[in-house]
């Protein structure tokens, strides 16, 4: 067990409500309006529970929206003026990390309720300016200065992965195809169309060998999760209660070249195994896994890191059809970043809310059967920050 993530004492932190808003291009809607909508819906979902604190997960507002101090801004705009509020930033891992900070605050006894809001406004700048913002997740001095972007990092990983494991050039197609298939019935997804293997093969290159279907679109989005201790939960609820069973995070280097082995997501592995240890569970106990498929290669490496596949074998799970809603380990059950859309720092909150829907049997056409335990893992950059949560239905 990692010393950074000791097993917590017995606790009673629950998910009291969640919200998901449509990921997409919201030209009419500002950052604060996106945020307000998610906050409002989560509060309604939680039966009107009022949070004592607001944790905002966001990565790019300082660059794309020229805005910092989102905590105060959104608390004020959402009718929560006066409460404690702060932004948590860890690139694509911001969502999970914000939930973890809220979880720790509730565990400490200082708070009984907290709102975790993920929000990202990607479309207020266009083209190369957005790429420049995304590239700030890489090492500025030793990667971004050379023209490296997140897609370039992923392409470098993909090239080496295919070379090292002698995998076919379409080895990762199954991840994108699965995500698109799951997004068809997700009204919050930006892409609600299935993807054929042929269309994947013909897709335009973004960063050869990485094609446009290997990469998640960057979109506006907001999602929220309202946490509460058992003592403040409504005594009656139509939906099963979902409890946090494990919460852990770990880091590695920002730069690809600083990883001891680029094809091992060490932080993802450490945080997953710490969360397993906390919850007394193993990979085989996980019924649904929302992993961070910002790029298809991330799916393969995340499955390997979390123990669902041997090193170098993650791609075979997709290839062999084991990641679908009825598969051995369903992933990206609402389309993931690939097809639902990737909303930067909000992504981790989308994942958590989606896991809650699965555990509460509220996933509608995307429902995975017999879900008792779900896991969400989000990544900052190339897994430089990884945050893993395991949730369980009571």
């Amino acid at each position: 067990m990692s010393p950074r993530n000791p097993s917590p004492p017995a606790h009673d932190v629950f998910i009291a409500g969640v919200s998901l808003t449509k990921a997409g291009e919201h030209w009419q809607t500002s950052l604060r309006e996106l945020a307000f909508e998610a906050v409002r819906l989560a509060q309604i979902d939680a039966g009107g529970l009022v949070p004592q604190a607001l944790y905002v997960a966001n990565a790019f507002a300082p660059i794309l929206s020229h805005q910092i101090q989102l905590g105060a801004l959104i608390a004020d705009f959402s009718g929560l003026r006066g409460i404690e509020a702060v932004t948590v930033e860890a690139a694509g891992a911001s969502g999970g990390m914000a939930l973890r900070q809220a979880f720790l605050a509730l565990m400490s006894g200082q708070l009984e309720t907290a709102m975790v809001l993920g929000v990202e406004k990607m479309t207020d700048k266009i083209g190369p300016a957005v790429l420049s913002a995304l590239a700030t997740t890489t090492d500025a001095d030793h990667e971004a200065v050379h023209g490296i972007t997140p897609a370039a990092q992923a392409a470098l990983l993909m090239q080496r992965y295919l070379y090292e494991y002698e995998a076919p050039s379409n080895a990762l197609a199954g991840f994108s195809i699965n995500s698109h298939a799951n997004a068809v019935t997700n009204p919050n997804a930006i892409f609600q169309r299935a993807l054929s293997e042929e269309a994947y093969t013909k897709a335009a290159m973004v960063c050869e060998p990485l094609n446009i279907m290997d990469a998640a679109p960057s979109v506006d989005g907001a999602a929220a999760v309202l946490l509460a201790r058992r003592s403040v939960l409504p005594s009656e609820s139509e939906t099963p209660r979902v409890r946090i069973l494990g919460s852990a995070s770990a880091t590695s280097a920002l730069a690809l070249h600083d990883q001891p082995d680029i094809l091992t997501f060490t932080a993802a592995a450490e945080s997953a195994h710490a969360a397993y240890a906390q919850s007394g569970l193993k990979a085989k106990d996980i019924d649904v896994f929302e992993l961070h498929d910002q790029f298809s290669i991330f799916s393969a490496l995340s499955l390997e890191a979390a123990g669902f596949a041997e090193k170098g074998q993650g791609w075979r799970l997709a290839h062999d059809g084991q990641i679908g809603l009825q598969g051995r380990i369903p992933i990206t059950t609402f389309g993931g970043s690939t097809a639902r859309g990737d909303s930067g720092g909000a992504t981790g909150v989308y994942q958590l809310a989606e896991v809650v829907l699965q555990l509460q049997k509220r996933a509608d056409k995307n429902q995975v059967m017999d879900t008792k335990i779900g896991m969400a893992q989000c990544l900052g950059g190339i897994g430089s920050t990884a945050c893993t949560h395991i949730l369980g239905r009571e």
Binding site: D139, G147, L156
Partner: protein, 134 residues
């Protein structure tokens, strides 16, 4: 306009000046003053040869603002012959087929400019060997 953040890195950028760990002799690039292998203090300067081979590579079609004038360009992870991996662009690729394992050598090139009026940032890139026999 940015000046000092590039200026302070000029030795490593222009000429691949890194460090060597006095304890375990690991070669370190980019320099970080702490040995990634043994964790001890490592500030002894070390001049890398600039020779290495392609560990992975990719062609960037969508470039961020500061690099859009160079698009498309090829980025790579280079395994330096002294051990470390380094991220850099490949340049002057010509007609030679590029593959994992291709030998390359360091050259100092323009990395980016800080707009029309800003400073030019120079630094390491890698190219196929000019003299493959040596």
């Amino acid at each position: 306009m940015e000046v000092s953040r590039h200026w302070r890195l000029k030795k490593q950028r222009y000429a691949l000046e890194g460090e060597v760990c006095p304890h375990c002799h690991a070669k370190i690039f980019p320099p970080r003053d702490v040995c990634p292998d043994c964790g001890l203090d490592a500030r002894t300067l070390y001049q890398f040869s600039g020779r290495g081979e392609v560990y992975s590579f990719a062609k960037v079609q969508d470039a961020p603002e500061a690099h859009s004038e160079q698009s498309p360009y090829t980025v790579a992870l280079i395994r330096l012959e002294e051990g470390p991996l380094v991220t850099a662009q490949l340049t002057d690729i010509g007609d030679q087929p590029l593959e994992v394992g291709s030998p390359v050598e360091m050259v100092t090139r323009k990395l980016r400019s800080d707009g029309e009026r800003g400073m030019l940032v120079y630094g390491y890139k890698f190219r196929p060997l000019l003299r493959p026999s040596i």
